[in-house]
């Protein structure tokens, strides 16, 4: 962390560029309080400055409130349907999806679904604005809502519901679509650049300038990227011909994720070549006609990559000397200030000014969510709004310095009167003239404020205005708006005359300083996500300061000179059996990860003898002590993260993110079961029996548990089963999959280190015949946890039942024929992203992976085309490279089974797409991700455990039948649903017989304690791993 106030020294930006660059990444998830303490002095006003800016803001607001006409439609909409009301959200939901629904039935059902849950009637009279009333559906429909008698007709929600049923559906649909168009018109300046230029004229007359934003969804396919590039080029061409003389020329803002389907850190090489060329060609065209280009800011993960790309473009001979190539910086990012210093130094070095739009940031919610999901132990953004405001002012302070503004042209984007007033007074204080910076605002927002400002100050104001087809743009804009619901609240407070002006003009510095803590105490760090246990940690591999040191640690285990040598572990000791097997790396069969001795029948008996003898003592150990061992195990796995990652790569062929998730899941299992044991197994349990008498139970282990685990989660599932069995007091014999025994051995070594006695846990590597059969035939086995195929589960169950002893608990987690149902209200981009991940991540070798995707026929052509394009962008390759999406399958047996299935499906179905394999793919066991269109799920009789997806079209009216056919497969593990219609989601949820149902997301990656995992029917016995009932099945209850 650097001393932030130093940026005000002119010498700061004279430091070498590389030195300034080094300041950026470490601040990615900097301690919020510590970093804000650095920023506060930069944003802190003197008493006179504070008075000036407060007075100016007050005057501004008072003027705005006097001038009724200046309230824009969106301001009015936000005022009436504030985004913290249910109706506001529902209105936005409709706007987000309705226009893309092609079929009438689904559109009608969707409208009905949205209308039935809200209190629209209360808004019908709430606003005088035509737009708001136009959006108040009742008026548009029939006008009947306002005339209905609430006393007679009951609650308004019921009223609307009945009204919707009464009025013919096509009428409503038409009205809704009309309302959506009105809304689109308000959010979007023009459907194309010509319309935008023409509609923008009025504002330009008033003195505004424009930056046209060709926003929209990120491109998932190359053809979409080309389409977006063409539309940018067209915009440049048209704007280039603009002959309007008054005020600054319009510029164009571009979104990099629209110009490349893989604008990601993992694909840096492609970004720096392919995307670089696209943007460069656009910049050359823009420069020719002197239309400035601004690169929009996106997610925090892409910040460093975007700066690399910007630098390369900026330094290119074709761009050098232009001065109109700029970018957007988000003040909510902890890295904002060092980025600005680096940019300034870059501009200084080259001598061309860089226009920089300073915004507060538009992805706040997803940044927080993502870090919590990934266990990133910190946030890239501030957790309080006033902290973002402080950062904004600190950045403004730097940008307006005389030594900065020579090199950077600051463009302050804000809709907050106080921010505007403060920036203005700061500029005066620092002697910046009104031509040395400008303000920016969003089309349709902040009209009131800026109409007033533009009349009174000489500063230029630029409107950044979305341009594009309403159908494509509205969903994107609505999502951004919703995401920033909290930030836009200023807008409706501003025009809400009842809200005191004095409360609108508070300076963020005293406000933040008045808080008990600088960070938001209600937003816990990801590590403290759970009240009763520590969350597992995952480094963010998209961020240099996180990834580079982590990678260096992993690399120490990646060379062929590192070979693991492992043996069965019985009684805490290695057993040499001379039955030695070599473990090869699935991505390169000539490379090995190590060697392992397999156990034999003698070792099995020996282990069970010891485990049986150790049971009474272990089972009598206080539950808390057993739990402590698991907590230590969790910590040890995190301490040995790098080695475990390397084993995941080299032995199981897992990709980087998959390996991180693997370790995290193992850590979570240990901590979750430890916590469960402490809460439910440490003390005797009292309950009232059926005769009303109090009874006491003691929950204990059952004896020797056999744990048989698969290769697809060689650490997580392995340690999950073992830790559950140990936690409640069983002793354990674990048999890992023969393909992935090395990591299992390391895990048991760590478990011993964590304090589990050697005679309590035994590890027996080997295959079904050498270890599995003798183990499950032994009469002393008191319980079994198994994860693997349905067939093997049946086989083991039979072996156990042949022993002639009383039945024992068999906890089996087996396969699935997992479906995803996609209706026409869903967002295709999101569907395709989630489907591709669900089907092909981990090379499809997850029990939960998507196998059969059902797409409503009305959108099937479009979605299938996108799947095709997205699959072309999948990179199959070496799992330890960041650029790899899909690694190898586990072994040659799996590979040939999958290739047979592909051959078979080529005849029975129609090939949609197959991703490319690298030239050298035959060196390992690779299977290209493949998608087929088939006529029915009935063509698939068994699970095919690999990267093969099947697609079936269905008619909207047949939805129930589809659910039936999925149920009839007998499997019941996971299902995905993509629909904006909550009624549809609820209907599917209530009928689908699956263990894990995922709505509007991917269907893989269940998290321990958050998404307990396991299926029903052919997919498993339950109870769910990582759920509250799991441990009970490992235990026996004794009455005291």
């Amino acid at each position: 962390m650097f001393n932030a106030i130093e940026v005000l020294q002119p010498t700061f930006i004279e430091k070498p560029l590389n030195e300034l660059w080094q300041l950026i990444s470490p601040l990615y998830k900097a301690d919020e309080a510590a970093w804000l303490k650095e920023l506060l002095p930069l944003a802190k006003p003197t008493e006179s400055e504070l008075k000036n800016s407060t007075d100016a803001a007050t005057k501004l607001i008072e003027k705005v409130r006097k001038d009724d006409d200046s309230m824009s439609m969106i301001d009015a909409l936000l005022l009436e349907y504030s985004l913290d009301t249910k109706e506001g959200i529902l209105l936005m939901c409709l706007a987000e999806a309705l226009m893309r629904v092609p079929d009438k039935e689904t559109a009608d059902a969707f409208i009905k679904d949205r209308l039935s849950v809200a209190d629209w009637a209360s808004h019908a009279k709430g606003s005088d604005s035509f737009f708001v009333n136009a959006s108040t559906w009742g008026l548009l429909l029939t006008g009947k809502i306002v005339t209905m008698d609430e006393a007679k007709d009951g609650k308004p929600a019921n009223l609307v519901n009945r009204l919707v049923n009464r009025v013919s559906e096509p009428v409503i649909r038409k009205a809704m679509n009309h309302a959506m168009k009105i809304m689109g018109h308000q959010f979007v300046l023009g459907r194309d650049i010509k319309e935008a230029l023409s509609r923008g004229k009025n504002y330009r007359e008033k003195g505004y300038a424009y930056s046209f934003d060709m926003l929209g969804e990120a491109a998932l396919t190359k053809s979409d990227a080309i389409k977006y590039l063409r539309s940018y080029e067209k915009a440049v061409e048209v704007v280039g011909k603009d002959s309007y003389k008054k005020g600054p020329r319009p510029t164009i803002s571009i979104k990099l994720s629209a110009l490349h389907p893989r604008y990601e850190v993992g694909n840096e090489e492609r970004v720096m070549s392919e995307l670089f060329e696209s943007v460069k060609s656009l910049l050359i065209k823009a420069r020719k006609v002197n239309v400035g280009i601004t690169i929009d800011a996106e997610e925090a993960d892409r910040l460093e990559l975007s700066l690399h790309l910007f630098e390369k473009l900026y330094r290119d001979d074709a761009i050098k000397g232009w001065g109109l190539f700029g970018l957007v910086i988000q003040a909510y990012s902890k890295r904002a200030l060092p980025v600005l210093t680096w940019l300034t130094a870059l501009a200084k070095e080259q001598g061309d000014q860089i226009p920089v739009r300073l915004v507060k940031g538009a992805y706040w919610d997803s940044e927080i969510k993502l870090c919590q999901q990934r266990g990133v132990n910190g946030y890239p953004v501030y957790t309080r709004k006033e902290a973002t405001d402080v950062s904004y002012l600190a950045c403004a302070h730097f940008l307006l310095q005389e030594h900065t503004r020579k090199h950077i042209f600051p463009q302050f984007a804000s809709h907050n009167a106080h921010t505007i007033a403060t920036v203005t007074s700061l500029s005066q204080h620092l002697g910046a003239s009104t031509t040395e910076f400008e303000f920016q605002r969003l089309h349709g927002m902040g009209d009131a404020l800026y109409d007033t400002l533009i009349k009174t100050s000489g500063t230029d104001v630029r409107i950044y205005a979305p341009v594009g087809n309403h159908k494509d743009l509205l969903p994107y804009l609505v999502r951004r708006l919703l995401e920033n619901g909290a930030n836009s609240s200023f807008v409706h407070r501003l025009i809400d005359a009842t809200y005191p002006v004095s409360e609108l003009v508070g300076h963020p510095v005293p406000l933040l300083e008045s808080r008990k803590s600088l960070s938001n105490p209600y937003i816990d760090l990801p590590i403290r996500l759970f009240e009763d246990r520590k969350n597992s940690y995952g480094p963010n591999i998209e961020i240099d300061s996180e990834w580079t040191p982590f990678k260096a640690q992993i690399d120490t285990f990646m060379g062929q000179d590192t070979q693991w040598r492992a043996y069965p572990l019985v009684g805490g000791k290695k057993v040499e059996t001379n039955n030695t097997h070599t473990i090869t790396s699935p991505y390169k069969l000539t490379e090995t990860a190590g060697q392992i001795d397999w156990a034999d029948a003698k070792t099995v008996t020996q282990a069970i003898d010891l485990a049986e003898a150790a049971f009474p003592t272990w089972s009598q150990r206080p539950a808390n002590e057993r739990a402590d061992c698991l907590d230590r195990m969790a910590d040890l796995m995190e301490e040995n993260y790098a080695e475990l990652m390397a084993l995941c790569h080299r032995e199981a062929g897992k990709t980087i993110q998959d390996s991180i998730d693997e370790v995290r899941e193992g850590v979570d299992f240990c901590r979750y079961y430890a916590q469960q044991v402490r809460s439910h197994f440490a003390k005797p349990v009292k309950f009232k029996n059926f005769l009303g008498n109090e009874q006491t139970l003691l929950r204990q282990g059952r004896g020797v548990f056999a744990c048989i685990s698969p290769w697809n989660f060689p650490l997580a599932i392995f340690i999950g089963q073992v830790s559950a069995a140990l936690a409640v007091g069983n002793t354990v014999i674990a048999k890992p999959a023969e393909q992935t025994s090395l990591i299992a051995v390391r895990a048991i070594e760590l478990l011993l280190e964590a304090g589990v006695p050697g005679d309590v846990i035994h590890l027996l590597p080997g295959d079904g015949a050498t270890v599995g059969a003798p183990l499950t035939s032994d009469k002393r086995i008191a319980g079994l946890a198994f994860t693997g195929s349905t067939g093997t589960a049946q086989l083991i169950n039979r072996t156990l039942s042949n022993r002639g002893v009383a039945p024992i608990p068999v906890i089996a987690e087996t396969g699935g024929q997992n479906a995803m149902i996609v209706d026409s209200t869903s967002l295709p981009e999101q569907v395709v992203r989630d489907a591709v991940r669900s089907a092909f991540a981990s090379a499809g070798q997850r029990c939960s992976a998507l196998r059969v995707m059902f797409i409503q026929e009305d959108i099937a052509d479009r979605v299938i085309l996108m799947i095709k394009g997205a699959m072309k962008e999948q990179s199959v390759g070496l799992p330890y490279l960041h650029s790899t999406d899909v690694g190898p399958v586990i072994d040659q047996k799996a590979q040939s089974m999958l290739l047979d299935h592909i051959k078979n499906m080529t005849v029975k179905g129609t090939l949609i797409a197959q991703s490319a394999l690298p030239e050298w793919a035959d060196k390992g066991t690779f299977v290209a991700p493949t998608a087929f269109e088939i006529s029915s799920i009935d063509l698939l009789t068994e699970e095919k455990f690999g990267p093969i997806m099947h697609v079936v079209r269905y008619k909207a009216k047949d939805l129930d039948q589809i659910v039936d056919t999925i149920n009839n497969s007998g499997f019941g593990l996971t299902m995905g649903v993509h629909s904006r219609n909550e009624t549809t989601c609820a209907r599917i949820a209530s009928r689908a017989r699956v263990g894990n149902l995922y709505i509007n997301r991917d269907q893989v990656g269940a998290v321990v304690g958050v998404q307990p995992f396991g299926g029903q029917g052919l997919s498993g016995t339950g109870p769910k791993a990582g759920g509250p009932h799991y441990l009970h099945r490992f235990a026996i209850e004794k009455a005291l």
């Binding site: 927080i368 995922y998 339950g1022 209850e1037």
Partner: protein, 229 residues
């Protein structure tokens, strides 16, 4: 080889969806309508199984997790259960235990086929107040076929340890899902049946995960920080 499946299984399967969908509260209400006709001990047992189920698996639980998603854990019945006794002696002696099996299986959301004389009695008592096909009774010959059917989810049985062992062996021979055996062999203390966790043997769990930010952020977290003052 295709086996002929007893018609009762088809009926039980068809009734499953509706019985599941009406929810546990409604199932409890329906099961309680006839509870008064039971004798003292069995009645206590039936009521205890119902209220125990309501406490343990009654409501969907919202699980903790990241912002912007909702994760809910609930339970469903496993499917069709056979409830029976394989003890040769008089059923009436074991009425409490038999009642417990049937009520636990039903309240959890399974449909039940019961066997033997007791099966007939309990079906006569419950069938009039429950949706069609939710409870049926069969004779011993049909029971035999049902045990071997791959379509049933489980067998709840009062039995001896030896018989349980051979029944386990028989169930394990079947293809298809792993048929659950929920056996009670201690007819005096009923350690399995009269245990609060007994209900867990009749359920399957379901997790529903909803991405609540699918249409955009939920934008509520920032406001939280303001609450503290």
């Amino acid at each position: 080889m295709t086996q002929v499946q007893p018609a009762q299984i088809q009926t039980a399967l068809q009734s499953l969806d509706h019985w599941e969908q009406i929810g546990i509260e409604e199932r409890a209400a329906l099961l309680r309508t006839s509870i008064q006709s039971l004798k003292d001990r069995p009645q206590h047992m039936a009521e205890w199984q119902i209220s125990n189920a309501l406490t343990h698996v009654g409501e969907a639980v919202i699980l903790p997790g990241p912002t912007g998603e909702k994760n809910e854990l609930s339970t469903q019945g496993r499917g069709v259960f056979l409830c029976t006794s394989h003890l040769k002696d008089d059923d009436s002696e074991h009425e409490t235990a038999l009642i417990a099996q049937v009520y636990a299986a039903l309240i959890a959301g399974n449909t039940v086929i019961s066997a033997g004389d007791f099966g007939e009695q309990i079906t006569m008592l419950l069938a009039p107040t429950l949706p069609e096909g939710v409870i049926q009774s069969v004779d011993e010959i049909t029971e035999d076929l049902i045990i071997d059917s791959p379509l049933i989810a489980g067998v709840a049985v009062l039995t001896s340890t030896d018989k349980a062992t051979s029944l386990y062996h028989r169930l394990a021979k079947k293809d298809g899902l792993l048929c659950q055996l929920v056996e009670e062999t201690d007819l005096v203390n009923l350690p399995t049946i009269a245990n609060p966790n007994y209900i867990l043997r009749f359920i399957t769990e379901r997790t529903v995960s909803i991405n609540t930010t699918a249409i955009g952020g939920n934008a509520t977290l920032l406001e939280l920080g303001i609450m503290e003052e």
